[in-house]
């Protein structure tokens, strides 16, 4: 084998613009400079325009008193709170409807997606009917449907539908009893924690035992019993240290207990059902992407159908499912801003709506709101990428 001398070592060094790598670096630097200059121009120009028009700017308004009420708040809030607090209240309301929406959409989506592949004709057709109906109607209309159509069918507070005189459903929402914890209740979360740790231990032991002896215990059922049973046992042993604040009709509305407002219910239902129809298709495609030979091989080993799904098909399908699933989660979070159409007090309605208008500081408020959605979306994206890396097939 002959060794050729390197081209660069002979003759004068070529100028940097002949060097591909250096040239690329130069262009990238120029691009960054141009983008930075453009941003600087926008910021400077905006400030100049606002000043020239005598419009107040800055973030000082965040510490001013808001002076308006918000119907649903997860933290302490009154009309004497600051605009800064309205931001937090709106943000939490957005997060809670998004988180519960993602949870429900994932559950419904997986069930419907698998149901669509069911050998049972009726179940498969019902599932495809669900998908075709809900993913082809605009989300805003679905929100209006759940809010106005379903809401109008509800009775007034005085003729509420009630369940055991403790749970009430009416046009003002769902009133539930609120648990009030007394001293000694701390043992129950503790028992729950112990049960979870014990279940994890059992799973690990069971897996080792199976690898060593080939025998397996129904560890899933045992764990479930442990996690539910142990806290229940402690609850009874300590004499049920919980009292319930039951909602009661006083004046116009129910007072006491927890009220889930109909705006929340409508938005949550619409977001979950709409997004679930897309997730179902993603799940179906993920499962169908697994060659049928895999299923047949598993069946040849006489694994039951549920184990074939759980041990062979789903783990492989997940790597196809996760990336598009991430997009659906991001869509759901961003779609939650449609809340403003039905008066659910989310970030857009409370902060980019009322606060913006009361202070008139559109640019600051909109910039903060956009930054929030961007941050939430990037965080979800990061988490899902991490999760995707974990479930990805490792080629050996």
């Amino acid at each position: 084998m002959s060794v050729r001398p390197k081209a660069q070592s002979v003759g004068p060094k070529p100028p940097f613009w002949r060097d591909r790598a250096k040239r690329a670096l130069l262009f990238q630097a120029l691009l960054i400079a141009a983008v930075a200059a453009f941003l600087l121009y926008i910021v400077g120009n905006t400030q100049a325009n606002l000043a020239a028009r005598g419009i107040t700017t800055g973030f000082g308004f965040l510490t001013n008193t808001a002076g308006f009420g918000i119907v649903q708040s997860l933290i302490e809030y009154s009309s004497q709170s600051t605009y800064g607090r309205t931001f937090v209240v709106g943000l939490l309301n957005t997060l809670v409807v998004s988180a519960l929406g993602i949870l429900a959409a994932t559950l419904i989506g997986f069930v419907v997606g698998i149901a669509r592949l069911s050998p049972n004709w009726l179940i498969a057709r019902l599932a495809s009917g669900y998908i075709e109906i809900f993913r082809n109607i605009p989300l805003l209309l679905q929100i209006f449907f759940w809010y106005f159509a379903v809401l109008r069918a509800m009775p007034s507070p005085r003729d509420s539908l009630s369940l055991g005189e403790a749970v009430f459903l009416n046009v003002r929402g769902l009133s539930l009893p609120q648990p009030l914890f007394e001293s000694g209740f701390g043992l129950i979360p503790l028992a729950f924690g112990v049960a979870v740790v014990a279940s994890v231990g059992l799973m690990i032991w069971n897996k080792r035992r199976q690898e060593a002896t080939g025998k397996r215990l129904p560890a899933g059922w045992i764990s479930l019993g442990l996690i539910i049973g142990l806290p229940l046992l402690v609850l009874v042993a300590t004499g049920v240290p919980v009292t319930w604040d039951v909602p009661e009709l006083r004046g116009f509305n129910f007072r006491g207990g927890i009220t889930v407002i109909p705006e929340f219910l409508a938005l949550w239902l619409a977001l979950s059902i709409y997004t679930a129809s897309f997730i179902a298709e993603i799940v179906r495609s993920g499962i169908q992407a697994i060659p049928h030979g895999q299923t047949e091989a598993a069946q040849a080993l006489s694994l039951p159908r549920n184990l074939v799904l759980r041990l062979v098909v789903v783990p492989q399908a997940l790597r196809v499912i996760i990336p598009p699933l991430t997009s659906q989660y991001l869509n759901l979070i961003k779609n939650s801003s449609l809340a403003t159409a039905i008066g659910y007090p989310d970030l857009v309605s409370v902060f980019a709506g009322t606060t913006l208008n009361q202070t008139g500081q559109a640019i600051e408020v909109i910039a903060m709101t956009m930054a929030v959605y961007l941050t939430i979306s990037l965080l979800v994206s990061m988490f899902m990428n991490w999760f995707n890396a974990r479930v990805a097939l490792v080629e050996r």
Partner: protein
């Protein structure tokens, strides 16, 4: 779809503020308006009596008449107006960025709006106050009985603030249900989502007639705030500010002098020096605003005086049936008072 269109207005408005190089030289608005050939007027998203399209799709109302008066003064043609429908949240941004030349959209004059938004209020075309609309089924007769009520409100209004103040002062609780447009607010009230709908009393009268059964609802006697409503312009263009201000004053002065759209041509020969000055027969009072001497004559002959506009749109001759009350002229027991033209 209206929502998308509204988002678009807000977006272009924000873009104009961030990207556009805007100069605030005086006389700019009149010049731009003349070049364009129409006055761009920001109106509501449909509030009968104040600004709403009629069955032929033409905008009508007390606020619309201010737009028409400005167009008549500038172009001699009251129809040279392009109406831009804005919701409560978008209205100020749209005016600030130049999307509209004048905002005539039942907007309450407050200190914050006048001093921190870069805007000027050009007068008051309707003195209003906040009230409560309730269903007759509730069987209540006073706002003091509203403790614990769920209340529908439109987002981005002074109403939201007054409401919280009133309930706190009276140590009562309430659940605010906040909607984007007045249409949705009425929808929520009709669906029974709230016990009470609150807004300016004039608007309540307008919203009540939009209910499927107007007689099932009533307006409570309490008026809990001062709501002087008037047209708004951008700060820094004094000439345009004067044009809008004096267009409104011309309508008020015409009523005071007994000049209306029917008799304005005969009145041109009037011996009354006040009428002669108003109609441009004696001196040219339009010159200082960059208009011709017929500016007020055009307003009165094409739009009418304030009484005509009031009666036609919100008064006893209209479905709203609002009494003149405090909106009568100063010499008739009301607050409406225009400085003299001389």
């Amino acid at each position: 779809m209206r929502d998308n269109k509204n988002k678009w207005v807000l977006l272009t408005s924000a873009a104009a503020l961030t990207l556009g190089a805007v100069s605030v030289a005086s006389a700019e608005t009149l010049e731009n308006t003349r070049e364009r050939g129409v006055v761009q007027c920001g109106v509501s998203d449909g509030l009968p009596g104040f600004s709403a399209p009629n069955d032929q799709g033409e905008w009508q109302g007390l606020d619309v008449d201010v737009c028409r008066a400005v167009a008549a003064a500038v172009f001699g043609d009251a129809d040279a107006v392009r109406y831009i429908s804005l919701n409560a949240v978008e209205r100020f941004t749209a005016l600030q960025s130049g999307e509209v030349d004048v905002l005539s959209r039942n907007t309450t004059w407050t200190a914050t709006r006048d001093t921190t938004l870069g805007l000027n209020f050009a007068g008051v075309n309707f003195y209003d106050g906040q009230g409560f609309l309730v269903s007759k089924d509730l069987g209540i007769s006073s706002a003091k009985e509203l403790d614990g009520a769920a209340i529908c409100i439109q987002s981005g209004t002074t109403t939201e603030l007054n409401l919280a103040d009133y309930f706190r002062a009276n140590e009562m609780q309430f659940d605010p249900i906040v909607f984007d447009t007045s249409e949705q607010t009425v929808g929520g009230f009709e669906a029974g989502r709230c016990d009470v709908l609150t807004s300016d009393t004039s608007q309540l009268a307008a919203l009540r007639i939009q209910l499927s059964e107007p007689d099932s609802a009533m307006i409570l006697p309490e008026v809990i705030s001062k709501e002087p409503l008037g047209p708004v312009v951008r700060q820094g263009d004094d000439q345009w500010f004067n044009i809008v201000k004096w267009s409104l004053f011309a309508m008020l002065n015409a009523e005071e002098l007994g000049v209306n759209s029917e008799n304005v041509d005969e009145m041109r020969d009037s011996d009354n020096p006040n009428i002669a000055r108003l109609l441009g027969q004696d001196g040219n009072y339009g010159e200082g605003m960059g208009l011709d001497a017929n500016w007020a004559y055009n307003i009165i002959s094409q739009v009418g005086n304030y009484a005509e506009s009031f009666d036609r749109n919100v008064g006893p001759n209209s479905p709203l049936g609002i009494e003149r009350g405090v909106n009568a002229l100063w010499n008739d027991g009301g607050f409406q008072y225009a400085p003299p033209i001389r």
